[in-house]
Symmetry: C2
Subunit: 449 residues, 2 copies
């Protein structure tokens, strides 16, 4: 079979890795794909750098549209990033009848509906394994490997930067700010880390997984997004003492009422395999009604792990490109005609309607009756307590980020599953008690079983 | 699109699970596959039981060949097991132009070359996700998701029965025989557990994974197979003290000399994620040159987890069946014309040529000079010691399975990577020393990093 000719838009870290792996493993890949896969043209604003990477046998241009217009190109890889020019180029490539491979989670989470619709109309493939969890073939697992299942929930550590920061905070007892600086120095966090530490990147990824898990459109605007910037050392320690670890999870869960779609720090039982995922590694847990729990672990970022996913998509396209649209794997796992509209019976739920357990920490005056008052408010709201921990001022001072006060104590409560709206009402009451000296810390808890 | 009509050969545990999941999730599966997937006929020697499971709308016959001969059937699921009649029926189904889905690892590990060749000639698909690691979509991950990679090695806990036994031996300090009895009572081990505990089942599975990882034929006859029946409690304890756990691993590794293909108990560092895989769960670690290390975890057996894999194959077939053979995913991951023959430069190596670390335990007389003599023999053979542990008779007696002898001590040595042939020669020398009182225990050690 003739070679698949690929045009690469943007040759930065991942683009360079993709070029290198395709060249290094070209024989292996040809033996798998049945045809060679060759990058024949590269577009990058920095033509000189691009030329230095790809050598003289590959066309290098500064204008991506020259590649899209080239009738010899079968597949376009978009590695530019962002929502702006990347969206235009992807839509133009589709219009030109090219298959598209992209690692751009932000683009697909926000404009996926438009892009997948355009691709379906044109009968081309838009593949995006690299957009979620780097080298882990989780899109393929959800879309094909677990296709027999009614997926109940997906929960993942899908941002390496924040997992690195949380691992370091726990291991070394450092504050968020201290570890962030260190992570930036080591290259684990970007100069502007906002998308990572505020949970936006994880939200893009869980939005994509929610779509293919449940057959709903991508709805990034409905996702609840909370990062790790407000996490404090004492809570990491208290969680540990209670048998939990704190991880930033992306969660998509199907309930009778609709879909929970949320990113936030979560307590998870230390004995779960995913609790031991440390450093910049990623892992996604999927629970299906037939298969039960599966876990998929690997590197979530980096040049070659991401290239591994980009090239897997190219191999899929090489295998499928002669097949008509009906025989292709649908971009969002479910046939386009079978996607459940946002307005149907699977709405993304407001956060008040989610149900989960909670970790609460109240810094209270060390005086009689406080505990009784707080547990009474919880009981009256129908919130049942799973575990409790009290740490006196001496112990508190060891952890305290502010100057300790002798008459203070930390009260830590784990609740059983509770509707978040109900919890919020109870917390408002508790917060107003004169004995409660600081804003109550509230972290959600996922049992993942 | 019209429904895919499936004939099921053998409706035991997995067959029943497949029927149930296909029925329960029929809407979900149709939305994914683009066409309905319906079991229209079942063959089972026990017609009455089959009828009680599938009801009146499904044809039930006792003769599997009636299903193979039925021109209305698109796909045959073989869940009979074994090498005999199953092989005949699979070959006949292929000859009749049916796609085949099977969970029969034994059949494919032994007769795979013949079967895949027949399928390629006929242009039909033989799919076998359920044959390895139950519900974990590891065949798809290796064959498609990681297609960009030169796979360096695959190592897996791929037999739930033995992992359950090892977990229990460690947790409860019980002997192999005690736990086996308990496992049989709980249904985790079969009445005749030979295939599981002797490593044969794991060897079938790692043989299949070696083929798709490296593009070589299935060569079960070349696999080294060692089970867990000779494992003793003290070694599990000593391994723990050295920071390792003992797991039965299936290992396929590419070296410059060829392929290592082996199943045996292995020490693995306790801090690796796979070391925490407990009970009857399975996990496969894959190392690719681009992606690095990935881990795939889930239930390795049971009616519905296995059904999940069987049905994923059916969905793949539904999506691909209109595509011609060129566009199908090749059964062994590499195009049939690109498989490396057994006689080529990737031979399966004899065990003398594998290179790994070792755990050694010698029960020796507690007298001066023994340690010096043993370490001298190792040093002369060029075998370097990574760690050492000596346990005096008092401690030994705590673990000892036989009556302790006061003048005995246990000497435990971890070696660095060593060629097995070299080690064996040194062990022969050590074993002949008069101070060595019992056969030396030798367990291989895998760092998996």
């Amino acid at each position: 079979m003739k070679n698949i000719r690929v045009g690469l838009l943007g040759i930065g870290t991942v683009g360079g890795g993709t070029f290198e792996v395709l060249r290094r493993n070209q024989d292996e890949i040809r033996r798998r794909a049945g045809s060679g896969i060759v990058i024949t043209a590269v577009a990058d604003l920095n033509v000189e750098r691009a030329r230095s990477i790809v050598g003289d046998d590959v066309q290098v241009v500064s204008d991506a549209r020259q590649i899209i217009a080239n009738p010899d190109i079968d597949v376009v890889i978009e590695l530019i990033g962002g929502y702006g020019i990347a969206r235009e180029l992807v839509l133009e490539a589709i219009a030109a009848g090219k298959h598209v491979v992209t690692a751009n989670k932000a683009l697909l989470a926000v404009h996926g509906t438009e892009i997948f619709h355009a691709a379906a109309q044109k009968g081309v493939i838009v593949a995006y394994e690299a957009a979620v969890a780097g080298g882990i073939p989780i899109i393929k697992a959800l879309r094909e490997g677990l296709a027999a299942n009614r997926i109940d929930w997906v929960a993942g550590i899908i941002n390496g930067t924040t997992n690195f920061i949380l691992s370091e905070m726990r291991d070394k007892g450092l504050s968020f700010a201290e570890v962030l600086t260190e992570a930036q120095r080591l290259g684990y966090a970007e100069a502007d880390p906002t998308f990572d530490i505020e949970g936006v990147d994880a939200a893009h990824k869980i939005t994509l997984m929610s779509a293919i898990a449940f057959g709903i459109p991508v709805q990034f605007d409905k996702a609840y997004v909370e990062g790790i910037t407000q996490l404090h050392r004492p809570d990491i320690r208290y969680a540990e003492q209670l048998g939990y670890r704190i991880k930033l999870l992306g969660i998509a869960k199907r309930t009778a009422q609709g879909i929970e779609l949320r990113v936030h720090p979560s307590l998870i039982p230390a004995k779960r395999l995913i609790a031991s995922v440390e450093g910049a590694m990623n892992a996604v847990v999927v629970h299906g009604d037939a298969v039960g729990t599966t876990l998929h672990y690997g590197k979530g970022a980096g040049a070659e792990p991401t290239a591994s996913a980009v090239i897997a998509d190219l191999v899929d396209i090489a295998r499928l490109q002669g097949a008509d649209a009906v025989h292709q794997v649908p971009a969002l796992a479910f046939q386009a005609s079978s996607l459940t509209a946002a307005s149907d019976n699977l709405p993304v739920l407001p956060m008040d309607d989610i149900v989960t357990g909670y970790y609460l920490r109240a810094r209270v005056a060390d005086e009689a009756g406080v505990l009784a008052t707080i547990t009474r408010i919880l009981a009256d709201a129908g919130i049942s307590v799973d575990a409790m921990l009290q740490r006196e001022s001496d112990e508190v001072s060891e952890f305290s980020e502010n100057a300790p006060h002798k008459a203070q104590t930390d009260l830590i409560i784990l609740t059983h599953d509770t509707r978040e709206g109900t919890l919020n009402q109870a917390l408002t009451q508790i917060q107003q008690l004169p004995s409660v000296l600081a804003p109550i810390v509230r972290i959600r808890k996922e049992e993942l079983n």
